[in-house]
């Protein structure tokens, strides 16, 4: 018990004192995950929109396919990309393995199906009259798409939160593709796994607190804006 208490105290000290190594790990985590989300969001929204609004052969198959990808473990995604990026792999010549780029690719592969599946669900449940009303009021296709996306913005924001939360906290793909190299590819979850295995709980707890604070802040923001627009009490 006393060990746990002192670990928590040490964790607070690490965060408050501005420990360079700790904040470097946090920086890498946010840099990699934010880049991955930023690169995924537009193509994922396009796919989600096509699946929700355009009828074409194989549409149902694709919806099921992306839903299935939601349950694929991060370590399997990591393994697949590892085989592709390793020296004898399809893209081995690019020498991306154990770089932040490889981690970004892994996290994109994890976030893309979440954004597509949840984005599709939000768009699918949107009132189709929004599209028709915008069109009949003379809006062009892009303005109409903007109106529909605006109508379901909270559903899309929830998808973004879910995807960001998932990739920020995943260990498997980052460990396999990044290699957990200090100051280079060590992010929050791989650092927690490493420090805990070494018995250094303070850093793990400090990093865990950062993740919890982030999750709380993002969720609070979502509810704040929904409340501001009178959608929740």
């Amino acid at each position: 018990m006393s060990n746990s208490s002192s670990a928590i105290t040490d964790a607070f000290s690490l965060l408050v004192s501005g420990d360079a190594e700790l904040w470097n790990i946090i920086g890498i985590s946010f840099q990699v995950s934010t880049t991955a989300i930023a690169l995924s969001i537009i193509p994922a929204l396009v796919v989600a929109f096509l699946l929700a609004y355009i009828k074409f052969p194989g549409r149902r198959f694709l919806v099921s396919f992306f839903s299935t990808l939601l349950s694929v473990p991060a370590v399997v995604v990591g393994l697949t990309l590892y085989l592709v990026l390793s020296r004898h792999g399809l893209l081995g010549e690019w020498r991306l393995l154990f770089t932040q780029t490889a981690m970004v690719l892994g996290q994109m592969a994890l976030s893309f199906p979440i954004l597509v599946a949840m984005g599709h669900a939000a768009l699918q449940s949107s009132d189709k009259r929004a599209w028709e009303t915008a069109r009949t009021l003379g809006a062009g296709v892009f303005k109409t798409i903007y109106i529909v996306l605006r109508e379901v913005r909270f559903g899309l924001f929830a998808a973004l939160l879910a995807a960001y939360g998932r990739i920020l906290a995943e260990v498997g793909a980052s460990m396999m593709l990044g290699g957990n190299i200090l100051h280079h590819t060590r992010n929050i979850p791989t650092a927690i796994a490493l420090e805990t295995s070494k018995g250094d709980f303070a850093q793990g707890i400090a990093l865990g607190m950062v993740l919890l604070m982030l999750a709380f802040t993002l969720n609070y923001l979502l509810h704040y804006f929904q409340g501001k627009e009178g959608l929740v009490e």
Partner: protein
């Protein structure tokens, strides 16, 4: 009514959903300042016909045009969406205030003229006190007035209204009808799908009965008290 004044012309429109034929061979024309009622039982195809006329639904066969002759559906649809506004049975309010909804359809690129048009539309539809209200929280009658004012701002030639007074109280119905009278006076062509033609007796010039996928009659209104089916039976006999 001269042929040049024809704002909407549907000819030989056919539409099937699966194996069910909704519209068999429908002809309809509408001139400026004219109001026609489209009556028929549930599922008769009234809404489908309005949606085709608005360019929201593609007919399987037939032509829809606004006096341009025989044109491709793609071009025709664009023209229809420029000149015709379709109002849903339950008007859809864009997520935002009443002012936002009106701003959305105000076309003038010059800011001052756009602002003046919006203010005029608000005064016309009696929406001044509702300007800052969230449009989604309005009553059915208020939403219908916003929808009509929003459509009016587009300066259309034709307005298609699907059961515009359904589920409204007497006062809301009266105010909506007043707006529709004014639209007609301004020279707009109105096509109204309804179950209750009596409500529009003073407004309308003709009542079309849509039955079994065809328009059975296109005559001066001969209103009878009671539901629309009695009119239909009367005409068919």
């Amino acid at each position: 009514m001269s042929s040049q004044n024809i704002q909407l012309n549907l000819s030989a429109i056919q539409k099937k959903f699966g194996h069910q034929t909704i519209l068999r061979n429908v002809d309809l024309s509408l001139s400026g300042g004219q109001c026609k009622l489209l009556c028929g039982e549930n599922g008769a195809g009234k809404t489908t016909l309005l949606r085709i006329a608005a360019g929201l639904e593609k007919p399987d066969n037939g032509y829809v045009n606004t006096g341009l002759g025989k044109v491709s559906w793609k071009f025709c649809r664009k023209t229809l969406q420029e000149k015709i506004v379709y109002l849903h049975q339950q008007p859809y309010m864009l997520d935002g205030t009443v002012m936002y909804n009106l701003k959305f359809s105000a076309r003038d690129k010059q800011k001052d003229r756009r602002k003046a048009a919006i203010e005029k539309a608000m005064a016309w539809a009696g929406l001044e006190t509702l300007a800052s209200r969230n449009a989604k929280t309005l009553s059915g009658g208020e939403k219908q007035r916003v929808a009509i004012a929003r459509a009016w701002l587009r300066n259309p030639l034709v307005m298609l209204l699907d059961e515009p007074t359904a589920n409204m109280d007497t006062d809301a119905r009266r105010r909506t009808l007043e707006l529709m009278f004014q639209l007609k006076e301004q020279g707009l062509a109105l096509l109204i799908a309804t179950h209750d033609p009596m409500q529009f007796k003073k407004l309308s010039d003709a009542c079309l009965i849509l039955n079994n996928g065809e328009i059975k009659t296109d005559i001066d209104v001969e209103y009878t008290e009671g539901p629309v089916v009695s009119i239909h039976q009367h005409q068919v006999k």
